[in-house]
Symmetry: D2
Subunit: 269 residues, 4 copies
Amino acid sequence: MMIDKDTQGAATATVTVGDVVFGGQRLVLIAGPCTVEDRTQMIEIACAVKEAGAVMLRGGAFKPRSSPYAFQGLCEEGLEILAEARERTGLPVVTEVLESSQLPTVAAVADMLQIGSRNMHNSVLLRDAGASGKPVLLKRGMSATIQEYLYAAEYVLSAGGRHVVLCERGVRTFETATRFTLDLSAVPLLKEQTWLPVIADPSHGTGKASLVPPMARAAVACGADGVIMEVHPCPDCALCDGDQSITPELYYNLVKELRAVAQVVGRDI
Amino acid sequence: MMIDKDTQGAATATVTVGDVVFGGQRLVLIAGPCTVEDRTQMIEIACAVKEAGAVMLRGGAFKPRSSPYAFQGLCEEGLEILAEARERTGLPVVTEVLESSQLPTVAAVADMLQIGSRNMHNSVLLRDAGASGKPVLLKRGMSATIQEYLYAAEYVLSAGGRHVVLCERGVRTFETATRFTLDLSAVPLLKEQTWLPVIADPSHGTGKASLVPPMARAAVACGADGVIMEVHPCPDCALCDGDQSITPELYYNLVKELRAVAQVVGRDI
Amino acid sequence: MMIDKDTQGAATATVTVGDVVFGGQRLVLIAGPCTVEDRTQMIEIACAVKEAGAVMLRGGAFKPRSSPYAFQGLCEEGLEILAEARERTGLPVVTEVLESSQLPTVAAVADMLQIGSRNMHNSVLLRDAGASGKPVLLKRGMSATIQEYLYAAEYVLSAGGRHVVLCERGVRTFETATRFTLDLSAVPLLKEQTWLPVIADPSHGTGKASLVPPMARAAVACGADGVIMEVHPCPDCALCDGDQSITPELYYNLVKELRAVAQVVGRDI
Amino acid sequence: MMIDKDTQGAATATVTVGDVVFGGQRLVLIAGPCTVEDRTQMIEIACAVKEAGAVMLRGGAFKPRSSPYAFQGLCEEGLEILAEARERTGLPVVTEVLESSQLPTVAAVADMLQIGSRNMHNSVLLRDAGASGKPVLLKRGMSATIQEYLYAAEYVLSAGGRHVVLCERGVRTFETATRFTLDLSAVPLLKEQTWLPVIADPSHGTGKASLVPPMARAAVACGADGVIMEVHPCPDCALCDGDQSITPELYYNLVKELRAVAQVVGRDI
């Protein structure tokens, strides 16, 4: 397979999105709100996380929600706001695409396409995202084995995609004290088996803001090429996933810790 | 929610597909190959399962496979063959749709749309299938909670769909002796909570042909409104899922057993 | 291994406890309260379940509870009450032993020793129970694979035990709508791989009284050699596991249904 | 409950075993072979891990094995060898006790009693270990929720035990690429909820030697009070769990990395 490390040489390949390089010496910190709520909120967060050290913005415009009656995102308006946040900060943007028909719309704005956990088995979307030529942030399915996850990446690559970044974001287990069970062992395991960069998402992986800092440090310590986190100035009033969002202040301090851990494992932030 | 039993009266509603009624006195037996392989095979199986007592045909034209290099189905040609099998036998056809863009093509042939386990969280597809007006066979996601599964059905209904049938098909657990763990408790539990008909799929749920007959009997015994099974004249040479396919002869005998179990629980076949 | 079917001939061996034969033509129905609460309660339930058709009594004297502050059982007094219930009804008694040091005490009263889910990996207890010569009802560990479960039975047999009955009682999964996920596929699978009799416990397997009747029927339909269920005259006031207990009246009617299902699969009750 | 943090003040309590303090400024590194194989091996490993920086020895004398035909440990002879390793190195010893009847024998040698994953629900053993007054290293059950795990610790404490250290060692999930899924989120979560020290076991948690160093670093980064690891001079010829053992050389280098990570989170080694 194209993803196999041994057919590609020993090193992790790099994936470049604007000025950002995944898989290089410098770790990639991605931050932003779970969902784009309004222009003011997004710009405020974007500026704050940039100042803290983030190099890429995240924010959901099209949201995959369990209930059809939950907030489904600002859609096209959300994309416009993301574009404006990018202009203000200069940071590239990653946002989720839910379906192939949305690809032209999302790809027109996003610097990197996110394929979420609920779509990791969506082979049509994987192929079409690969064919689009855009870099893809492919999250692990919530009950996907490592093997299935690698096959999903192979769908993107076999359709012509050249730039895939993997992301461990928690798997579904019997434990209910956390939202998911963050399977950090997957990070070094994936890096053994494939040359793709691998990052971690402690926000979704734990579902609890208080666990995000320790698990972000752990992700860096075990070799992740980056960390994606949800940051919101007022987690209690967030429209989505407030329980797992940390404040910009907390994020600012956390980045300093992550920088120190990164240096221990021979990386920079 | 629209799916809630208490807002809709006590009884299971019926879902009608051609002459077939889900949720009525008579159980619905659906059978066919995992994937449509060629005209001769499909017609042979269709005639055999009809003779055995099946009232609806199944067969994959667009297949969701873990690997991009595995056989992906005959696609449009598979749909044509399914249409021919329907003409020969008079039995309606259910087949999977993988993505919204395939909906017009698949809906032009299928009497009922199947949304598979890997797409149960695909909210765009759920909505578009609902809006199509076609009856939907909605399989449970392999790690979906009962709550999430009911929300998925609600997506279809809230988009205008009126005819949804649920299908327990096994969930992902630590056990590897079976392909999935068939969660038959979900059948009576779903029937307590919703007025939608509920069937079971012991073929995918177990992944082992020898377990299909006992688990099909168990499904009927615990109140399923039907059973969907994979039947193949030569399981060892099937292009897909041969391990879990039973022969037409075995199916013929199994239907007799299911009829006897059905009578015990006050139903017919 | 001693448990392997192929080294022992094709048929399920029988395990005899008093007049009761596991693995024969007649299915074994075991019933009683989760825990022995007092003399009156136990005698009342014992008479009721005997009248309904049960052939063995269950009831916990030593209870394995998650919390040290929950009711831990009547201990020796509970055993005395069980002995009295046996005298009144003539039905043999199965009750749980939690530790090797309890073996003489429990074995002095019990006709069959139960080793519970939480002790399935307790190799010392398994061996000592085997060496005692008493028949053993060995429940599946809540996260034990089929392979590990068979090894546990092998511990009993390799220590000299000759009479082991297996019991599927639900495994731990991500699903929280039921207490455990009753893995009924394990019943025919175990019967394929070993000559030991296999029964099912839909009370613990589901944790919900309303699901006990359908899943008991399903257990018989898929080939179980018996069913163990919790029966309590007042589930709402039970000291333990009231949510999953059914009333004697309900049990009485359920046995009639199970008898009908048994006949379909060529068995009696 | 006695384990609750809020009833006990904010800080993690310390548990002292000889000169070793769990829960203090200095992290506790425990190392040794999975099982004590012979005198020479044990002494060699003990000296090597001491030189590397370990402050406590581990080694199984009584082994809980899935199969009754697998090596069950050297038993009393293993304890004698552990005592000799302690004399040579001055390091205290932790070793597993499988059953209450073994407590006097094991407690006569061990400085700390290990209660393993398979016995976490064994309430009799928990109580008896608590009553013994010895410090207890209580490993998490392989499918125990955080709540059940804390209840198990409460069993030890409520029986008079005052010194319990928790240990996350991997939980059972659908993933088979690793032996278990190391749930490192449990470390900070447990430290939020209880005042007990918490360590991690990346050897059992991953089952793969190559994953032990990254996951040990991650454990320290997320706040573990120590790390227990399996070290063997010849993993390929180990009698037990060789796949997850690292060599003394590798351990020596790993400790240096762990020291650096510890300093980032304000701790020492």
